[in-house]
C-alpha cells in the first residue's frame, strides 16, 4: 500500500508553553486506511490535526501529504484534505442546502454537479426531506450528518474526522459510521479519526495510534495492537498505556 500521509519527527512548541504540545512524532498513514488517533485530553491530537491541515507550521519536522508539504504546496495539500470538525461548523440561520452549497462553492465546486452531489449526500444520510429547513431547527444527530457531508463534497482523499459522533443518537451514529465505511470501501477514501469512544474506534478503525503528552506511545493494526498487549479491547490497551490518572490541567 502506498503512503498518503508521512509524518517525520514533527514537534510543536507554543510560545511560553512549558512543554511541546507535539514532541518528535513520526507515523505514516497508508492510502485506504481508517486510522484512529486516540489519546487523553491534552495529548496533542488537536495540535497534530491543525498542523496536518496546514493551519499553523511545525516547530520542527515535516508533514508530507501525497509527497507534498504545506510549506511548498499548501493549496494542493488542502485539496487532498476534507475536514469534519468536532464543532457543528455550520451557519444556524441557513438551511442545510444553503450551508452545503456555500461550502461547496468555497471548495471551488459549482453548477449542477454540486447540486447533485449535495442532494445525493443529503439523501444517503436521510436528510432529503429536511434540506430546506434551517440548521437551527435540526436535532443534534441531523446537524452532525450535515457537518459530515460538508467535509465530503469535494471527494477528498483524506477525510479528517474530529469526534464525528459525539452527542448523537444511536441511529445517527450508525448512519454516519456506515456511510464512512462505505466511502472507505467503495472510493478508497483514507480516514483519520479521533474519538474518546474507544469501542467505536475498535470497530471502525483498521489502524490505531495512541499519543500522550505529545508523544506517540504505540501504533499498529487494531487487532494486532490488542493481541500484542495481551488485552481484550482497545479500551484495555488504552488504559494500560495511558494509565488511570485524571488528565486535569
Amino acid at each position: 500500500m502506498s503512503i498518503l500521509v508521512d509524518i517525520q519527527h514533527v514537534s510543536k512548541k507554543y510560545k511560553d508553553a512549558p512543554r511541546a504540545a507535539v514532541n518528535d512524532l513520526s507515523l505514516t498513514i497508508n492510502k485506504g486506511d481508517i486510522f484512529g488517533l486516540l489519546g487523553p485530553n491534552g495529548a496533542g491530537k488537536t495540535t497534530f490535526i491543525s498542523m496536518l491541515c496546514g493551519l499553523f507550521p511545525t516547530t520542527s519536522g515535516e508533514i508530507y501529504i501525497n509527497g507534498l508539504t504545506h510549506k511548498t504546496n499548501s493549496k494542493a495539500c488542502k485539496q487532498v484534505i476534507g475536514v469534519v470538525p468536532q464543532e457543528i461548523a455550520l451557519y444556524p440561520k441557513l438551511t442545510a442546502w444553503e450551508n452545503l452549497m456555500f461550502l461547496g462553492h468555497m471548495y471551488g465546486l459549482g453548477g449542477s454537479d454540486l447540486k447533485e452531489k449535495v442532494k445525493e449526500n443529503l439523501t444517503i444520510l436521510g436528510l432529503e426531506a429536511n434540506m430546506h429547513q434551517k440548521i437551527i431547527s435540526y436535532s443534534g444527530g441531523m446537524k452532525r450528518r450535515v457537518n459530515l457531508i460538508a467535509g465530503l463534497l469535494h471527494n477528498p482523499q483524506l477525510l479528517i474526522l474530529d469526534e464525528p459522533t459525539v452527542g448523537v443518537d444511536v441511529q445517527s451514529k450508525q448512519a454516519i459510521i456506515e456511510h464512512l465505511k462505505k466511502l472507505n470501501k467503495e472510493k478508497g477514501m483514507t480516514i483519520l479519526y479521533t474519538s474518546h469512544h474507544l469501542e467505536e474506534a475498535e470497530d471502525f478503525c483498521s489502524h490505531i495510534a495512541i499519543i500522550d503528552d505529545g508523544k506517540l506511545i504505540t501504533r499498529g493494526a487494531t487487532k494486532e495492537l490488542i493481541s500484542s498487549n495481551n488485552c481484550n479491547s482497545i479500551e484495555e490497551v488504552y488504559l494500560k498505556i495511558t494509565g488511570v490518572k485524571f488528565r486535569d490541567k
Binding site: Y14, C53, P85, E87, L103
Partner: protein, 422 residues
C-alpha cells in the same frame, strides 16, 4: 464565483438576523430623528438666536421709537413692550421670563434734543466769535439695561455693544437735526436739501464658503452625517461578532482548511458590510431629505456632487469594516468584542464631534478630535453639505479614512500571523 457566493451567504445570514437588522437600520434612524429634534433649538441659538427682550418705554418719543425699530430690524430679539416699575422689570428678568430688559425713562427724547441743540449752539457760537459761554448740561441720559443673571459675559458684551451702536446712531441723528435747525435759523432764505444721515460705511458679513454657497450649519446638517457615521462604525460589532462566531463554532477552522477560501470569505464579509453601510447612508440621507422636513426641520441639502458624497460614504464604510475586522481578530469572545467595539466607537464618536460638534468644543478637544476617523468622515460630509466641496477638497479626509482601513487590515493580518506563529 467564490466571492459572489460568499457575499450571497452573508446577505442570507444578515437578512435572517432581525435583531442585527434593527441595530443596523432602525437605531440610526431613531437616533437621527430624536437628536436632530432635541438639538434643533441649540443649533438655532447658535445660528439665529431669538432672545426674549422686554422694553419698558416711558419716553414714547423719537428715541424709543428709533431704538425699538433698530432692535426689530436686527432680528435678534423677540420684543415685548410693557409698562412697569424698575423693580418689577428687574424681577421679570431675574425670573428668566426675559433675557434682557430695557427701560427708557420719561422725556429721554426731549432731553436728547435739548442737549443736542445746546451742543450745536455752543459750536456755532464759537465759529462766529461769540465768546458768551453757553451753558451745556453735562449730565448723561440713562437708558437702563437689565440682564438675566445666567447670561454669559460674551453675550452680554455683544448685546451692550449693539445697544451702544444703535443709541450712538440715534444721538448722531439728533445732533444732525439740531445742526440743521440752527443753520436754517442763520440762513432763513436757503433751501438746503436734507442731509443724508444713512450710514456711509457698510459692514458686509457672510459665511466663508466655496462656490457661492451660503448654507448655515443646522441641526439636520450636523446630525444626519454624524449619526450615520456612528451607525456605520457600529457595524464593527456585528461584523466582529460574526468573525468570532465562525471562529468559535469551527467554521473558520473548516474554511481555513479549504484551498484559498478563507481570505475570500473575509473579503465577502467585508464587501457585504460595506454595502450595508452604503444602504444605511442612503437611508439616512432619505431621512434628512424627506422625513425631517415633515417634522418641521430644515431639509438636508446634500450638496452638488452625489458621486463624491458616496465616495466619502464608501471610504467611511471601508474604515468601519476594517475596524470591525481588527476587533473580530483581536477579541477572544463575542462579549469582549461587543464591549470593546461599542466603548471604542463611542469614544471615537465623542472626540470626533458626533455628539457635540467640534465647533463648540474647547480648543484642546478640537485638537484631539482630529485623531478620530469619525471626525474625518464628518468633516468630509460638512465640506460637501455646507461648502459644496468637490473631490479635490475632500480628498485628504478620504485618504485618511482609506489609510485607517489599510492600517486596520494590516493590524488584523499581523495579529493573526503572530497568533499562528506563537
Amino acid at each position: 464565483m467564490k466571492l459572489l457566493y460568499s457575499i450571497y451567504k452573508e446577505y442570507k445570514v444578515l437578512t435572517r438576523d432581525r435583531a442585527g437588522l434593527a441595530i443596523t437600520f432602525i437605531m440610526p434612524t431613531v437616533l437621527i430623528l430624536i437628536i436632530t429634534l432635541i438639538q434643533d433649538t441649540t443649533f438655532r441659538s447658535v445660528n439665529e438666536a431669538s432672545v426674549p427682550l422686554l422694553i419698558v418705554d416711558r419716553d414714547n418719543d423719537s428715541l424709543s421709537i428709533a431704538l425699538e425699530k433698530s432692535l426689530i430690524n436686527s432680528k435678534f430679539f423677540v420684543i415685548t413692550k410693557k409698562q412697569m416699575t424698575d423693580e418689577e422689570t428687574k424681577t421679570e428678568i431675574a425670573k428668566g421670563t426675559y433675557f434682557i430688559g430695557v427701560i427708557i425713562p420719561e422725556n429721554t427724547s426731549k432731553k436728547l434734543r435739548e442737549k443736542s441743540g445746546a451742543r450745536v449752539t455752543k459750536l456755532l457760537n464759537s465759529f462766529s466769535g461769540d465768546s458768551t459761554e453757553t451753558a451745556v448740561d453735562t449730565n448723561k441720559l440713562n437708558v437702563q439695561l437689565f440682564f438675566d443673571p445666567i447670561t454669559k459675559k460674551s453675550f452680554k458684551t455683544t448685546v451692550s455693544n449693539s445697544f451702544e451702536r444703535i443709541i450712538s446712531q440715534i444721538e448722531m441723528q439728533s445732533m444732525m437735526s439740531a445742526l440743521n435747525e440752527k443753520m436754517q435759523e442763520s440762513f432763513p432764505l436757503a433751501k438746503p436739501s436734507p442731509l443724508e444721515i444713512t450710514p456711509i460705511v457698510n459692514l458686509k458679513e457672510d459665511y466663508a464658503s466655496y462656490n457661492n454657497s451660503s448654507i448655515i450649519p443646522n441641526s439636520v446638517q450636523h446630525n444626519v452625517p454624524a449619526w450615520t457615521l456612528f451607525a456605520m462604525f457600529f457595524i464593527c460589532i456585528p461584523l466582529a461578532g460574526n468573525i468570532i462566531k465562525e471562529r468559535d463554532d469551527g467554521s473558520a477552522f473548516r474554511l481555513l482548511t479549504m484551498p484559498g477560501s478563507y481570505m475570500i470569505v473575509i473579503l465577502g464579509k467585508m464587501l457585504t458590510y460595506v454595502i450595508v453601510s452604503l444602504i444605511q447612508f442612503a437611508l439616512m440621507l432619505c431621512v434628512g431629505v424627506f422625513v425631517l422636513p415633515m417634522m418641521g426641520m430644515p431639509e438636508l441639502n446634500i450638496g452638488n456632487s452625489l458621486p463624491v458624497l458616496f465616495l466619502v460614504a464608501f471610504a467611511s464604510g471601508l474604515a468601519a469594516t476594517g475596524f470591525g475586522l481588527l476587533v473580530g481578530t483581536i477579541a477572544t469572545s463575542h462579549d469582549q468584542a461587543s464591549l470593546f467595539g461599542a466603548v471604542f466607537v463611542i469614544i471615537l464618536a465623542a472626540i470626533g464631534g458626533i455628539w457635540v460638534p467640534t465647533f463648540v468644543m474647547p480648543e484642546v478637544m478640537k485638537k484631539i478630535s482630529v485623531i478620530s476617523p469619525l471626525n474625518w468622515g464628518l468633516e468630509a460630509f460638512y465640506g460637501i453639505f455646507l461648502r459644496n466641496f468637490g473631490l479635490k477638497e475632500i480628498f485628504p479626509e478620504v485618504a485618511k479614512l482609506l489609510a485607517f482601513f489599510a492600517a486596520s487590515l494590516g493590524g488584523a493580518y499581523l495579529y493573526q500571523k503572530y497568533k499562528r506563529l506563537k
